[in-house]
């Protein structure tokens, strides 16, 4: 069917899209590029700009007397994510620190409680692998970084498996039923696919808020610890925000009850205000509608790839089954780096590149139109068919 797909078809899909009105809630320059890198950095919601300005006023006027309200935000914003994005319960999610630090805290807490082999994926996102490598060395335990096909078997024998729910390169959704104790990195999943942490039996998770949750560059991450595990784990970073009766400032550390024990230092409030604002847009749309549109958007791109791009040397590097796919589609191409640069520099399309040869196209449902998908595929086709991408200098960096 894709062979016959026209711009009019994409326009008809936009006209029928119940989420289409949400695009106007984001800052979008309609003369700007076709932005298909929201999986790296999400767009700015208009409401977020307003809330950040209002927060500045609040800081200026309330000063230190604002803290009794602000101090609740890591948990309050976590509760919004729990209910609307993650399928977790109130009191199971915090927003604080970075994915890296949260991963360190949770994986470190498990190792403190019991040593044993750590398992990860050899191709997983770097920070996950690097954090595990450091923890394994510090704790004197084995780290097994395995290939996708070995994962389930390795997880069975592991003390802890750390793995991305949606692979950052391929966009593959990993199945929930990995054996053993699993710490999920939901960075490329949260806000893209439906998650039901409680229903799926997930025990530990971390994730990013600046991709599909539109929290802004470097916005703080979230962490999830299922309620029954909280009392059994202690964060290795014993910060004062994780202390029981924090302002007693007592002589000995005693972890707070509940999820608060996984806080560390003072959280940034303007960041939390921005994350809440982004999360509320997701809540308004609802994850079922977002996930359905995501599948439709990525499905359209896969169809256009098959029709137009495969003959030009592209290969689909993401699952063909929509249910097994996150919010982005990766295409491998021998000249992938030059294709990506030429799309940005000459075709006004912004995807991103992952070594050695993958161009990633991300389609966040809150603001991506079917016509954007169509444009991205059409311009990629026209660029590569013309050979203009070959004019771009080869990658200045060593491609590993």
């Amino acid at each position: 069917v894709a062979d016959g797909l026209t711009r009019a078809d994409a326009e008809a899909l936009d006209a029928a899209d119940p989420l289409a009105p949400l695009r106007s809630r984001f800052v979008v320059d309609d003369g700007g590029p076709v932005y298909v890198d929201g999986n790296s950095l999400g767009r700015l919601p208009h409401a977020t700009a307003e809330r950040m300005a209002a927060f500045a006023e609040e800081w200026g006027s309330r000063l230190v007397t604002g803290w009794p309200d602000w101090i609740e935000l890591p948990r309050a914003v976590g509760d919004v994510l729990a209910e609307h994005v993650l399928g977790a319960r109130p009191g199971e999610v915090l927003v604080c620190d970075s994915v890296t630090v949260n991963l360190f805290k949770l994986a470190g807490a498990v190792l403190d409680a019991e040593a044993g082999p750590l398992v990860g994926l050899a191709g997983d996102f770097p920070t996950d692998r690097y954090v595990l490598e450091g923890l394994a060395r510090a704790h004197g335990v084995d780290l097994r970084l395995v290939d996708r096909g070995e994962l389930a078997a390795a997880a069975r024998d592991a003390r802890l498996t750390v793995v991305s729910k949606v692979d950052y390169r391929s966009g593959e959704v990993l199945p929930d039923d990995l054996p053993g104790l699993v710490l999920w990195d939901l960075s490329h999943a949260a806000g893209a696919i439906e998650l039901d942490l409680r229903g799926s039996g997930a025990q530990l998770a971390v994730g990013c808020t600046y991709k599909y949750l539109n929290g802004g560059p470097g916005a703080p991450a979230f962490l999830y610890v299922r309620e029954d595990l909280q009392e059994r784990l202690r964060s290795p970073i014993q910060g004062w925000f994780s202390q029981k009766d924090q302002f007693a400032m007592g002589p000995r550390y005693e972890p707070a009850a509940g999820i608060d024990r996984f806080l560390a230092g003072t959280p940034s409030i303007v960041d939390l205000v921005a994350v809440r604002s982004g999360a509320e847009l997701v809540a308004e749309a609802g994850m079922p509608a977002i996930a359905a549109k995501t599948r439709a958007l990525t499905g359209l791109f896969v169809a256009l790839h098959d029709a137009w791009l495969a003959p030009l040397g592209f290969a689909l590097a993401s699952p063909r089954d929509a249910a097994a796919r996150g919010g982005h589609v990766s295409l491998a191409h021998p000249d992938g780096w030059r294709v990506c640069r030429a799309l940005i520099e000459r075709a006004n399309v912004v995807p991103d590149f992952r070594r050695p040869d993958v161009v990633r196209f991300g389609f966040p449902a809150l603001y991506t139109r079917f016509t954007d998908v169509f444009e991205a595929a059409e311009r990629t086709r026209d660029l590569v068919a013309s050979g203009a991408h070959l004019d771009v200098q080869a990658a200045p960096m060593r491609v590993t």
Copy 2:
């Protein structure tokens, strides 16, 4: 002399103050409270509100293409602090994460390199003590939390001593010449007193940007590692921002050269924009002028204490020698908690309270007037002389 001090004298000091014009650069409600808690949370610079709004626009329009500039900010803002606040060299300071996390990274790096006893102050700020307690347990080393009088002797035998340069309760400035390897917590020092990390031989430091540097509630902290130590230390949190050739995303962790190896995850950019804005105001005023005014402000308050407050049961809980004092003055009072609450609720003065009996009055030089000092002392005197503070309910919390 203080006995005869009048409001007119304070007004004359303001008139002669070369930093007086800087007050207009901050959001100040002149009908609002006398704010003497900038040592807890600094005021909002007008420029910061503008820069945060401009940054939001930049995020909205540049999207992911902004990252090549933004990614430099932890080091670029660190360089501003290095030059204008800390007396360090370019490439020795980063702004990232919280004081807690930075303390964990640097103290943990030392312990990874060589185990041995850790030393801290029994009365130091909680997060410092708690982090050390966790690290000591994880590394199986002794933690000695000693009293002030034992500190120098204990430091001599320590693998690492972690201590605040300016005590958060008393405001005492600790001398530079502690023996052994010292990690300074500069949270109450940076922006209040002149620091010369290079000249004083300091090797490691962390500190806060939301007090005298006016970065906003929960703004990221800084860390300092003297250049010659950087290659010998590895952060225990092996995040991707600390990786050599980060975007190669290679299979093994290899720490970046230089100060970057002490980064962890993705830094918040709006936070860094705010910290830079605050730091630039400090740079404009210059630390010599700020430190001189700080001594004059706190000196005036001590004089007024002697004249008016000591007879009412207050005792100076800060050094009398201005050179040994940071930017705040602490007064002990048997009804300290009620005095603090009554000042806030009935006298429109905002100090803060530290258990068991200390009221802290902070005087950041960039926006505090000598007449503010006069008002704070006068209203405290009138409140306590009238006995109105006794109408406030006793502390609802257990005072330890």
